[in-house]
């Protein structure tokens, strides 16, 4: 059965600014879901607050537009209630790495099998362009009255330190690359973090399409722009830790190369899959270790009463533990 991208579109008018990177993210997500042949009713999107909060409304699947900084706990609750769903959390960098950063880090401890996409544009768009947690020190976008007084955090390193087992970066104006990256993240068994370099033409006049594509960076020989972005896939970089793990030295070498790539910014910016660790149990695995019927009867699907409303839960044994008198 062919899944058309149109299946995943709603007919709502999209109110993002013309040229916004979120258009590309939306198209890519719709295409990825179609290529993965995921039924819309088995997919749930959770967004935060901001321009990026609108994503679920433009995609035909179950969609929940939550609170600022909170898409991850909502998404995790839903996924743990029904692990058979495909759950995707999506939000902005202001949402996920400032107010939401506590949840960002602690989600990594759990390694629940969901995908977290962050539209990273260096600003708070919907509130008109304040510096976000990823904007570098000293940068002055057109929306700021004076240069940024704070250093920017590195989301890839933060994700690694927190325990995310899939860490990738892609680019909002490259639909094909996003489709591939989103598919890999969704298929990854564990918590996937995808940093999307997203253009905000209205407020961030520094990290623009032109800048990413190196239009200020003309190669004297060819007369062509030298793009800042390059693909890790093209360099032979291997992000994968296999299920059985790696010997210590090999593992440490991988970590070292990850750190090097994660720190790379400026004239050369890598995109692609930076880290894919298949050796870590998911939170769902850990639940099953002590609750073997978890997948048969996850919280959302367990029948709790019969057709007359009589409880199906039998607490008599638990009450018996508390008994003090009687035969």
């Amino acid at each position: 059965m062919a899944f058309k991208v149109a299946e995943y579109k709603t007919d709502l008018h999209i109110d993002w600014c013309p040229g916004c990177g979120d258009f590309g993210i939306t198209s890519a997500l719709q295409q990825a879901l179609a290529e993965l042949e995921m039924e819309p009713h088995n997919v749930v999107l959770f967004s935060g607050i901001g321009c990026s909060g609108k994503f679920p409304h433009y995609i035909r699947a179950y969609g929940v537009h939550t609170l600022h900084g909170r898409p991850l706990p909502f998404a995790i609750g839903c996924k743990l209630a029904n692990p058979h769903l495909t759950v995707i959390a999506i939000g902005g960098d202001g949402d996920g790495l400032g107010i939401g950063v506590g949840h960002f880090v602690n989600a990594g401890r759990r390694n629940v099998d969901i995908t977290y996409i962050v539209a990273n544009n260096g600003v708070y768009g919907l509130t008109k362009g304040q510096a976000s947690p990823t904007l570098a020190l000293g940068l002055k976008t057109k929306s700021l009255p004076k240069p940024n007084i704070n250093q920017g955090i590195n989301p890839l390193l933060l994700a690694f330190a927190s325990g995310y087992t899939f860490i990738a970066r892609t680019y909002s104006y490259d639909v094909r690359h996003q489709v591939e990256t989103f598919k890999k993240g969704i298929l990854h068994r564990g918590l996937a973090f995808i940093d999307v370099l997203q253009g905000c033409p209205t407020y961030n006049d520094l990290w623009t399409k032109d800048w990413y594509m190196g239009r200020d960076h003309i190669d004297p020989e060819t007369g062509k722009p030298v793009p800042r972005l390059y693909r890790l896939e093209d360099t032979g970089y291997d992000p994968r830790i296999p299920p059985e793990g790696l010997p210590r030295e090999a593992y440490e070498a991988r970590v070292a190369q990850f750190v090097q790539k994660a720190l790379e910014w400026g004239d050369r910016i890598p995109i692609g899959v930076f880290w894919k660790d298949e050796s870590v149990s998911t939170y769902e695995d850990r639940i099953r270790a002590t609750a073997p019927t978890y997948l048969d009867f996850p919280p959302a699907l367990r029948p709790i009463c019969d057709e007359d409303g009589r409880p199906l839960t039998d607490i008599r044994k638990f009450l018996d533990e508390l008994r003090v008198t009687g035969p």
């Binding site: 009713h41 088995n42 009867f297």
Partner: protein, 652 residues
């Protein structure tokens, strides 16, 4: 009818006071006696003073603490120094004579203000400042002194079991204190044996050692105090099936019965115990259901903070599970934003709030009923919610089920209010009846119902209906795709700022409150206790139920005066109209509340226009005791003034 026996044990936290109290209480419970236990402790792991009162009666259940103590068991100096004035004439104090020379300044954790007060008291009675002076003061009032040289008893025990290491023998200290107490009450040792077996289940050597220790203690009492202590505990043959449980267990069991399958929590006193119990009972037996296994888990997640706790629970509820969380005041503060989201999105979620002394960090291990206003008004702007308050452990169990039924039927957040005193107190009950319990999931559609209605038309999560309630679906269902947002929204769940839709959605949600008032049986809104033909009505809610009922009985017994008591159960929405009818029947109305402002009285005045001019309040972090409630009510009756405010201050 005899009065209940009141036993108390105290000691430094970490020294096994709880274990001792549980041994005593369970021994009595096994013997067919009605038991009630109330615990007090500091926000501290080791060293500060904690104490546990157990009240026992052969015929009638007890549901309140009292000030009077018949037998105080101690093995440190601080306990008698703090509680000697609570012991009644003819009552007794068990103490370790090796501590007689300790001065009242010696307990390192005793509060400075209390030491000063004790100094002044002893000095005013021309006494010195040692434990011996304290005990002699009690003896002068007729209190019997029972010196128990624990070290000697350990030596005797050591000889019997062939153990010389003091540290090992000293671990039986709690059992000895309990055994000495039960021996004085002339209570059959077999019940203590059973309690010891139960407590140290599976550890045969420890059971044996403690049972022999108990015998050593009994022997000592028989030899040393031949004259019987005037208070006795006698077993009662009982056929009734009874349980003995703590408040947090009652809620946990209610949630399991209700079909709660997902609970989040952030550790906070006193709520944590509920979630830990659920974790320990993770795999829940199911009746044959024809759909799958006979066991399924409740998933319990310890979150990084209370914001994650509420949002994760809401996420699970969106997924289709009955989801809840449990917290106290400070945690509830952090949950308010999430609850507002659930309110506008019409997602059912249950929050159990165990109130404790506030504001802010307040009194983390002490009790209060200070969050009524907050529970009813939490969140900016306006959205419907239900607030329930339980009066005792049994109510906590059934209210936990009701909370989920209201949440899913009316698609609102439900706050189940209880408090620290109920959370930690224990009681015997007839086994909870399960046959009449029913689950109501409201308009939650199964796959067939969804397909039947929506195969050909679009499902609208916020469809306008006559009742204001829309059918619900969950992710994974083919025809149930919905959108949800914290923004104001249209029928599909997409954002709208349209004036007409906004008005209609606001009315859709807020009209729910009226619907709940209309549909809820009166028995679930309040209970009216006592005499209909009296001019005085006590009005209260929550954990004051036990102490008020006992005070009423005692006043009736002593003076013949009959009173009525309105215990409000559904705090919000409040049926003001019907409530006003009830209130108008009584010329005199007295509010009794464990908070500063008499919040319920204020709420009732606002909703009905009827004042409750007499207020008996308490906010020192301790639960009300029977004696001070009796005294306060009698003062109001005698003085007969148009209004009054009495502050209760008993507590240690």
């Amino acid at each position: 009818m005899q009065e209940p026996i009141s036993w108390m044990i105290g000691g430094a936290q970490g020294s096994g006071v709880d274990t001792a109290a549980n041994l005593f209480a369970r021994a009595c419970a096994f013997a067919g006696l009605h038991v009630f236990g109330a615990r007090e402790y500091y926000s501290n792991i080791m060293g500060k003073h904690s104490y546990f009162q157990v009240r026992v009666h052969p015929e009638r259940p007890i549901q309140a603490p009292c000030a009077a103590v018949h037998l105080l068991a101690s093995f440190d100096a601080e306990t008698p120094m703090k509680h000697f004035r609570s012991v009644v004439p003819d009552g007794g104090i068990i103490f370790d004579p090796k501590l007689l020379a300790s001065t009242v300044d010696s307990p390192p954790n005793m509060e400075r203000r209390y030491k000063q007060e004790l100094h002044a008291y002893l000095t005013s009675r021309r006494r010195g400042l040692t434990l011996e002076d304290v005990l002699n003061d009690a003896a002068d009032r007729g209190v019997r002194l029972f010196p128990v040289p624990y070290d000697d008893l350990f030596r005797r025990l050591g000889q019997k079991v062939g153990e010389t290491e003091y540290a090992k023998l000293a671990r039986t200290l709690n059992t000895m204190a309990v055994a000495v107490s039960l021996a004085l009450f002339q209570f059959d040792i077999e019940y203590l044996d059973r309690a010891i077996e139960d407590q140290f289940k599976g550890r045969a050597r420890i059971v044996e050692m403690n049972q022999i220790a108990a015998r050593v203690a009994y022997e000592y009492i028989r030899e040393t105090f031949p004259e019987p202590f005037p208070f006795r505990l006698t077993p009662v043959p009982v056929r009734q099936l009874r349980i003995y449980l703590q408040g947090t267990q009652a809620v946990a069991l209610g949630k399991l019965l209700a079909g709660c399958t997902f609970q989040t929590y952030y550790p906070i006193s006193p709520a944590t115990d509920e979630s830990v119990y659920l974790e320990a009972h993770e795999n829940v037996p199911l009746f044959p259901n024809g759909q799958g296994p006979d066991k399924a888990p409740i998933v319990v997640v310890q979150t990084e903070d209370e914001i994650a706790a509420i949002t994760m629970a809401i996420g699970a509820a969106i997924g289709g599970a009955r989801a809840s969380t449990a917290t106290s005041g400070p945690g509830f503060c952090l949950m308010v934003e999430g609850l507002g989201w659930a309110g506008i999105s019409e997602v059912p979620v249950v929050v159990t709030v165990y109130q404790r002394g506030g504001p802010s960090t307040g009194l983390p291990t002490r009790t209060e009923q200070g969050d009524l206003w907050f529970a009813i008004h939490h969140g900016h702007s306006e959205f419907p919610r239900v607030v329930l308050a339980s009066g005792d452990h049994r109510e906590m169990f059934y209210d936990a089920v009701r909370a989920f039924n209201y949440a899913e039927r009316y698609q609102v957040p439900v706050i189940h209010l209880t408090d620290r005193y109920l959370a930690n107190s224990t009681s015997t009950y007839p086994l909870f009846e399960l046959d009449d319990v029913r689950i109501d999931r409201g308009l939650f559609l199964d796959d067939e119902a969804l397909a039947a209605r929506y195969a050909d038309r679009t499902f609208q999560r916020y469809e306008f209906t006559e009742s204001g309630l829309s059918p619900r679906s969950r992710p994974g269902q083919k025809y149930g795709i919905f959108w949800m947002t914290g923004d104001e929204h249209d029928e599909l769940g997409h954002i709208t700022e349209d004036v007409v839709l906004r008005d209609r959605m606001m009315e859709k949600r807020m009209s729910r409150l009226e619907l709940i008032v209309r549909e809820t049986p009166e028995a679930e809104k309040w209970t009216l206790w006592g005499e209909p033909d009296t001019d005085t009505l006590i009005v209260s809610w929550g954990s004051t139920k036990g102490v008020i009922l006992e005070a009423m009985e005692e006043i009736a017994r002593r003076t013949g005066r009959k009173l009525a008591f309105l215990q409000v159960r559904m705090l919000w929405p409040l049926d003001g109209e019907r409530l006003a009818e009830i209130l108008r029947r009584y010329a005199r109305r007295i509010a009794v509340e464990n908070n500063y402002s008499a919040q319920m009285a204020g709420l009732i005045r606002r909703e009905t226009g009827i004042a409750i001019p007499h207020k008996i309040v308490k906010y020192n972090g301790r639960p009300m005791v029977v004696e001070e409630v009796i005294e306060a009510i009698q003062q109001v009756l005698q003085k007969n003034s148009p209004s009054s405010r009495t502050v209760l201050r008993h507590g240690i």
